[in-house]
Symmetry: C2
Subunit: 150 residues, 2 copies
DNA sequence: TGTTAATAGTTGATTTTGTAACTAACAACA
DNA sequence: TGTTGTTAGTTACAAAATCAACTATTAACA
Protein backbone atom coordinates (compact mmCIF):
# COMPACT_ATOMS: atom_id res chain seq x y z
CA UNK A 1 0.00 0.00 0.00
CA UNK A 2 0.99 3.62 0.05
CA UNK A 3 1.39 3.22 -3.68
CA UNK A 4 3.03 6.22 -5.20
CA UNK A 5 0.20 6.62 -7.64
CA UNK A 6 -1.87 8.56 -5.18
CA UNK A 7 0.49 11.48 -5.41
CA UNK A 8 -1.47 14.63 -6.05
CA UNK A 9 0.42 17.31 -7.87
CA UNK A 10 -1.92 19.95 -6.59
CA UNK A 11 -1.03 19.03 -3.07
CA UNK A 12 2.70 19.22 -3.55
CA UNK A 13 3.59 22.26 -1.51
CA UNK A 14 6.04 24.01 -3.85
CA UNK A 15 3.55 23.60 -6.69
CA UNK A 16 0.57 24.61 -4.64
CA UNK A 17 2.38 27.63 -3.23
CA UNK A 18 3.33 28.73 -6.70
CA UNK A 19 -0.22 28.44 -7.96
CA UNK A 20 -1.57 30.41 -5.02
CA UNK A 21 1.16 33.03 -5.35
CA UNK A 22 0.58 33.52 -9.04
CA UNK A 23 -3.17 33.64 -8.76
CA UNK A 24 -3.11 36.04 -5.84
CA UNK A 25 -0.61 38.35 -7.53
CA UNK A 26 -2.54 38.78 -10.74
CA UNK A 27 -4.91 41.57 -9.82
CA UNK A 28 -2.35 43.62 -7.93
CA UNK A 29 0.20 43.21 -10.68
CA UNK A 30 -2.32 44.65 -13.10
CA UNK A 31 -2.55 47.82 -11.05
CA UNK A 32 1.11 48.73 -10.73
CA UNK A 33 1.68 47.76 -14.32
CA UNK A 34 -1.22 49.76 -15.71
CA UNK A 35 -0.89 52.83 -13.51
CA UNK A 36 2.89 53.18 -13.37
CA UNK A 37 4.32 50.80 -15.93
CA UNK A 38 6.23 49.05 -13.18
CA UNK A 39 7.61 45.55 -13.03
CA UNK A 40 7.49 43.29 -10.01
CA UNK A 41 11.05 44.19 -9.07
CA UNK A 42 10.31 47.90 -9.31
CA UNK A 43 7.20 47.72 -7.23
CA UNK A 44 9.18 45.88 -4.57
CA UNK A 45 11.96 48.42 -4.47
CA UNK A 46 9.41 51.22 -4.29
CA UNK A 47 7.74 49.60 -1.32
CA UNK A 48 10.99 48.96 0.50
CA UNK A 49 11.89 52.62 0.26
CA UNK A 50 8.35 53.71 1.05
CA UNK A 51 8.09 51.58 4.14
CA UNK A 52 11.59 51.57 5.55
CA UNK A 53 12.85 54.89 4.18
CA UNK A 54 16.20 55.83 2.68
CA UNK A 55 18.52 52.89 2.25
CA UNK A 56 21.10 51.38 -0.07
CA UNK A 57 20.58 48.76 -2.75
CA UNK A 58 22.43 46.30 -0.61
CA UNK A 59 20.02 46.72 2.26
CA UNK A 60 17.11 46.21 -0.09
CA UNK A 61 18.78 43.01 -1.20
CA UNK A 62 19.12 41.76 2.34
CA UNK A 63 15.51 42.43 3.17
CA UNK A 64 13.97 41.23 -0.05
CA UNK A 65 16.33 38.44 -1.04
CA UNK A 66 16.23 39.76 -4.60
CA UNK A 67 19.44 39.36 -6.56
CA UNK A 68 21.55 42.48 -6.82
CA UNK A 69 21.30 42.67 -10.60
CA UNK A 70 17.55 42.75 -10.39
CA UNK A 71 17.74 45.52 -7.84
CA UNK A 72 20.30 47.43 -9.85
CA UNK A 73 18.09 47.45 -12.89
CA UNK A 74 14.94 48.24 -10.97
CA UNK A 75 16.69 51.17 -9.27
CA UNK A 76 17.99 52.43 -12.61
CA UNK A 77 14.51 52.43 -14.09
CA UNK A 78 12.90 54.01 -11.06
CA UNK A 79 15.60 56.68 -11.17
CA UNK A 80 15.06 57.44 -14.84
CA UNK A 81 11.39 57.87 -14.16
CA UNK A 82 12.06 60.17 -11.20
CA UNK A 83 10.54 57.91 -8.60
CA UNK A 84 13.74 57.97 -6.56
CA UNK A 85 17.01 59.84 -6.16
CA UNK A 86 20.47 58.39 -5.67
CA UNK A 87 23.06 59.93 -3.44
CA UNK A 88 26.57 58.70 -2.90
CA UNK A 89 27.88 58.21 0.57
CA UNK A 90 30.73 60.66 1.24
CA UNK A 91 32.67 58.27 3.40
CA UNK A 92 32.28 55.14 1.30
CA UNK A 93 31.69 56.05 -2.27
CA UNK A 94 30.68 52.53 -3.19
CA UNK A 95 27.44 53.12 -1.34
CA UNK A 96 24.49 54.94 -2.78
CA UNK A 97 21.55 56.01 -0.70
CA UNK A 98 18.23 55.67 -2.39
CA UNK A 99 15.27 57.80 -1.47
CA UNK A 100 11.82 58.28 -2.93
CA UNK A 101 11.02 61.56 -4.62
CA UNK A 102 7.74 63.36 -4.14
CA UNK A 103 6.47 61.50 -7.14
CA UNK A 104 7.78 58.23 -5.76
CA UNK A 105 6.05 58.75 -2.46
CA UNK A 106 2.81 59.56 -4.24
CA UNK A 107 3.00 56.34 -6.22
CA UNK A 108 3.88 54.45 -3.07
CA UNK A 109 0.93 55.85 -1.15
CA UNK A 110 -1.40 55.07 -4.00
CA UNK A 111 -0.21 51.50 -4.34
CA UNK A 112 -0.11 51.05 -0.60
CA UNK A 113 -3.81 51.75 -0.49
CA UNK A 114 -4.42 49.30 -3.27
CA UNK A 115 -2.32 46.68 -1.52
CA UNK A 116 -4.12 47.07 1.77
CA UNK A 117 -7.51 46.83 0.16
CA UNK A 118 -6.42 43.88 -1.89
CA UNK A 119 -4.93 42.03 1.03
CA UNK A 120 -8.11 42.55 2.98
CA UNK A 121 -10.09 41.19 0.08
CA UNK A 122 -7.95 38.07 -0.07
CA UNK A 123 -8.31 37.59 3.67
CA UNK A 124 -12.03 38.10 3.53
CA UNK A 125 -12.62 34.60 2.24
CA UNK A 126 -10.85 33.11 5.25
CA UNK A 127 -11.80 32.65 8.84
CA UNK A 128 -9.71 34.53 11.39
CA UNK A 129 -8.04 31.33 12.42
CA UNK A 130 -7.26 30.34 8.84
CA UNK A 131 -5.81 33.75 8.20
CA UNK A 132 -3.61 33.62 11.27
CA UNK A 133 -2.38 30.10 10.59
CA UNK A 134 -1.73 30.90 6.94
CA UNK A 135 0.47 33.89 7.66
CA UNK A 136 2.33 32.20 10.45
CA UNK A 137 3.08 29.13 8.36
CA UNK A 138 4.03 31.11 5.29
CA UNK A 139 6.53 33.06 7.36
CA UNK A 140 8.01 29.79 8.48
CA UNK A 141 8.19 28.41 4.95
CA UNK A 142 9.61 31.65 3.59
CA UNK A 143 12.47 31.29 6.03
CA UNK A 144 11.63 34.60 7.62
CA UNK A 145 12.81 33.89 11.11
CA UNK A 146 11.24 35.71 14.00
CA UNK A 147 14.36 37.89 13.98
CA UNK A 148 13.83 40.94 11.83
CA UNK A 149 17.23 40.59 10.26
CA UNK A 150 18.34 44.15 11.04
CA UNK B 1 5.45 57.78 11.30
CA UNK B 2 1.75 57.94 10.51
CA UNK B 3 -1.38 55.94 10.10
CA UNK B 4 -0.56 53.67 7.26
CA UNK B 5 3.05 53.20 8.25
CA UNK B 6 2.33 50.00 10.07
CA UNK B 7 1.96 48.21 6.77
CA UNK B 8 4.26 45.24 6.75
CA UNK B 9 5.45 44.17 3.35
CA UNK B 10 6.18 40.72 4.63
CA UNK B 11 2.60 40.32 5.62
CA UNK B 12 1.15 41.33 2.26
CA UNK B 13 -0.23 38.05 1.01
CA UNK B 14 0.92 38.14 -2.63
CA UNK B 15 4.43 39.04 -1.48
CA UNK B 16 4.47 36.55 1.35
CA UNK B 17 3.15 33.79 -0.89
CA UNK B 18 5.83 34.53 -3.43
CA UNK B 19 8.58 34.42 -0.85
CA UNK B 20 7.31 31.14 0.54
CA UNK B 21 6.87 29.67 -2.93
CA UNK B 22 10.35 30.64 -4.04
CA UNK B 23 12.04 29.50 -0.88
CA UNK B 24 10.20 26.20 -0.82
CA UNK B 25 10.91 25.53 -4.49
CA UNK B 26 14.66 26.03 -4.27
CA UNK B 27 15.83 22.63 -3.16
CA UNK B 28 13.49 20.69 -5.44
CA UNK B 29 14.37 22.88 -8.38
CA UNK B 30 17.99 22.06 -7.80
CA UNK B 31 17.26 18.37 -8.19
CA UNK B 32 15.38 18.35 -11.48
CA UNK B 33 17.78 20.90 -12.86
CA UNK B 34 20.93 19.05 -11.85
CA UNK B 35 19.77 15.52 -12.60
CA UNK B 36 17.82 16.10 -15.79
CA UNK B 37 18.55 19.65 -16.92
CA UNK B 38 14.85 20.42 -16.74
CA UNK B 39 13.11 23.73 -16.33
CA UNK B 40 10.07 24.29 -14.16
CA UNK B 41 7.73 24.00 -17.12
CA UNK B 42 9.30 20.73 -18.17
CA UNK B 43 9.12 19.22 -14.75
CA UNK B 44 5.46 20.13 -14.64
CA UNK B 45 4.66 18.57 -17.97
CA UNK B 46 6.57 15.46 -16.98
CA UNK B 47 4.53 15.13 -13.82
CA UNK B 48 1.24 15.69 -15.55
CA UNK B 49 1.99 12.85 -17.93
CA UNK B 50 3.41 10.70 -15.16
CA UNK B 51 0.44 11.11 -12.91
CA UNK B 52 -2.48 11.33 -15.30
CA UNK B 53 -1.11 9.38 -18.24
CA UNK B 54 -1.30 10.03 -21.96
CA UNK B 55 -2.93 13.33 -22.82
CA UNK B 56 -2.75 16.28 -25.18
CA UNK B 57 -1.02 19.60 -24.63
CA UNK B 58 -4.38 21.23 -24.31
CA UNK B 59 -5.40 19.01 -21.44
CA UNK B 60 -2.15 19.80 -19.67
CA UNK B 61 -2.95 23.44 -20.11
CA UNK B 62 -6.39 23.03 -18.57
CA UNK B 63 -5.04 21.21 -15.55
CA UNK B 64 -1.95 23.31 -14.94
CA UNK B 65 -3.11 26.74 -16.09
CA UNK B 66 0.22 27.13 -17.87
CA UNK B 67 0.08 29.14 -21.08
CA UNK B 68 0.06 27.08 -24.24
CA UNK B 69 3.35 28.52 -25.51
CA UNK B 70 5.11 27.40 -22.35
CA UNK B 71 3.67 23.95 -22.76
CA UNK B 72 4.55 23.84 -26.43
CA UNK B 73 8.18 24.61 -25.70
CA UNK B 74 8.39 22.29 -22.74
CA UNK B 75 6.93 19.46 -24.83
CA UNK B 76 9.35 20.18 -27.65
CA UNK B 77 12.34 19.98 -25.31
CA UNK B 78 11.11 16.87 -23.55
CA UNK B 79 10.57 15.29 -26.95
CA UNK B 80 14.05 16.12 -28.18
CA UNK B 81 15.48 14.56 -25.07
CA UNK B 82 13.36 11.44 -25.50
CA UNK B 83 11.35 11.85 -22.33
CA UNK B 84 8.11 11.68 -24.25
CA UNK B 85 6.62 10.67 -27.59
CA UNK B 86 4.08 12.55 -29.64
CA UNK B 87 1.38 10.86 -31.62
CA UNK B 88 -1.17 12.54 -33.84
CA UNK B 89 -4.81 11.73 -33.43
CA UNK B 90 -6.11 10.02 -36.57
CA UNK B 91 -9.52 11.59 -36.39
CA UNK B 92 -8.48 15.13 -35.52
CA UNK B 93 -5.01 15.80 -36.72
CA UNK B 94 -4.73 19.01 -34.74
CA UNK B 95 -4.43 16.88 -31.62
CA UNK B 96 -1.25 15.24 -30.48
CA UNK B 97 -1.19 12.68 -27.73
CA UNK B 98 1.79 12.91 -25.46
CA UNK B 99 3.10 9.95 -23.57
CA UNK B 100 6.18 9.33 -21.45
CA UNK B 101 8.88 7.06 -22.80
CA UNK B 102 10.62 4.49 -20.66
CA UNK B 103 13.22 7.11 -19.92
CA UNK B 104 10.53 9.65 -19.13
CA UNK B 105 8.83 7.31 -16.69
CA UNK B 106 12.14 6.60 -15.00
CA UNK B 107 12.79 10.31 -14.54
CA UNK B 108 9.25 10.77 -13.31
CA UNK B 109 9.53 8.00 -10.73
CA UNK B 110 12.84 9.35 -9.55
CA UNK B 111 11.54 12.88 -9.15
CA UNK B 112 8.30 11.67 -7.66
CA UNK B 113 10.27 10.10 -4.84
CA UNK B 114 12.20 13.28 -4.35
CA UNK B 115 8.99 15.32 -4.35
CA UNK B 116 7.31 13.11 -1.80
CA UNK B 117 10.27 13.16 0.52
CA UNK B 118 10.63 16.86 0.10
CA UNK B 119 6.98 17.61 0.72
CA UNK B 120 7.10 15.52 3.86
CA UNK B 121 10.13 17.45 4.99
CA UNK B 122 8.37 20.75 4.48
CA UNK B 123 5.33 19.49 6.35
CA UNK B 124 7.45 18.17 9.17
CA UNK B 125 7.91 21.61 10.64
CA UNK B 126 4.16 22.09 10.92
CA UNK B 127 1.55 20.72 13.23
CA UNK B 128 -1.14 18.56 11.67
CA UNK B 129 -3.62 21.32 12.00
CA UNK B 130 -1.31 23.88 10.46
CA UNK B 131 -0.64 21.56 7.58
CA UNK B 132 -4.32 20.94 6.96
CA UNK B 133 -5.27 24.61 7.15
CA UNK B 134 -2.38 25.61 4.94
CA UNK B 135 -3.31 23.25 2.14
CA UNK B 136 -6.98 24.01 2.32
CA UNK B 137 -6.41 27.76 2.24
CA UNK B 138 -3.84 27.57 -0.55
CA UNK B 139 -6.30 25.63 -2.65
CA UNK B 140 -8.81 28.37 -2.08
CA UNK B 141 -6.35 31.12 -2.97
CA UNK B 142 -5.11 29.22 -6.00
CA UNK B 143 -8.65 29.13 -7.28
CA UNK B 144 -8.67 25.35 -7.37
CA UNK B 145 -12.19 24.20 -6.74
CA UNK B 146 -12.71 21.56 -4.08
CA UNK B 147 -13.68 19.07 -6.77
CA UNK B 148 -10.84 17.01 -8.14
CA UNK B 149 -11.65 18.09 -11.66
CA UNK B 150 -11.86 14.68 -13.28
C1' DT C 1 53.67 52.19 1.46
C1' DG C 2 52.39 48.05 -1.81
C1' DT C 3 49.90 44.15 -2.57
C1' DT C 4 45.98 41.25 -2.16
C1' DA C 5 41.31 40.51 -0.86
C1' DA C 6 36.66 41.99 -0.23
C1' DT C 7 32.52 44.80 -1.22
C1' DA C 8 28.76 47.71 -3.83
C1' DG C 9 27.03 48.06 -7.77
C1' DT C 10 26.91 47.68 -13.07
C1' DT C 11 27.16 45.57 -17.56
C1' DG C 12 27.06 42.00 -21.22
C1' DA C 13 25.95 37.53 -23.03
C1' DT C 14 22.72 33.97 -22.83
C1' DT C 15 18.42 31.88 -21.52
C1' DT C 16 13.67 32.06 -20.59
C1' DT C 17 9.26 34.21 -20.76
C1' DG C 18 5.36 36.93 -22.72
C1' DT C 19 2.53 38.68 -26.48
C1' DA C 20 0.84 38.45 -30.78
C1' DA C 21 0.61 36.72 -35.05
C1' DC C 22 0.67 32.68 -37.54
C1' DT C 23 -0.37 27.68 -39.72
C1' DA C 24 -3.02 23.72 -40.18
C1' DA C 25 -7.04 21.34 -39.33
C1' DC C 26 -11.81 20.95 -38.24
C1' DA C 27 -16.87 22.73 -37.67
C1' DA C 28 -21.06 25.04 -38.99
C1' DC C 29 -24.10 26.25 -42.05
C1' DA C 30 -25.90 29.04 -46.06
C1' DT D 1 -19.78 23.07 -52.09
C1' DG D 2 -17.73 27.50 -50.20
C1' DT D 3 -17.31 30.69 -46.78
C1' DT D 4 -16.58 31.97 -42.12
C1' DG D 5 -15.33 30.92 -37.55
C1' DT D 6 -12.96 28.10 -34.14
C1' DT D 7 -9.44 25.26 -32.20
C1' DA D 8 -4.56 23.03 -31.30
C1' DG D 9 -0.35 24.07 -31.52
C1' DT D 10 3.92 26.72 -33.27
C1' DT D 11 6.84 30.56 -34.21
C1' DA D 12 8.78 35.31 -34.20
C1' DC D 13 10.02 39.13 -31.79
C1' DA D 14 10.31 41.84 -27.69
C1' DA D 15 10.76 41.96 -22.67
C1' DA D 16 12.81 40.16 -18.64
C1' DA D 17 15.62 37.05 -15.77
C1' DT D 18 20.01 34.76 -14.98
C1' DC D 19 24.93 34.20 -14.50
C1' DA D 20 29.40 35.62 -14.93
C1' DA D 21 32.55 38.97 -15.58
C1' DC D 22 33.57 43.60 -14.82
C1' DT D 23 34.67 48.57 -12.49
C1' DA D 24 35.45 51.30 -8.69
C1' DT D 25 36.26 51.66 -4.09
C1' DT D 26 37.58 50.32 0.53
C1' DA D 27 39.88 47.03 3.90
C1' DA D 28 43.68 44.20 5.65
C1' DC D 29 48.05 43.81 6.60
C1' DA D 30 52.93 42.52 5.50
Amino acid sequence: MGEKDDFDLQNFLPYLLNQAAEESSLAFQQVYKDRYGMLRTEWRVLFHLGIYGRMTAKEIGQRSKMHKTKISRAVARLGERRFLTRQQDERDRRLEYLELTHQGRAAYRDLLGVAQTYDAKLSAGLSEEEDAVLRRVLHKLAGLGSDAGD
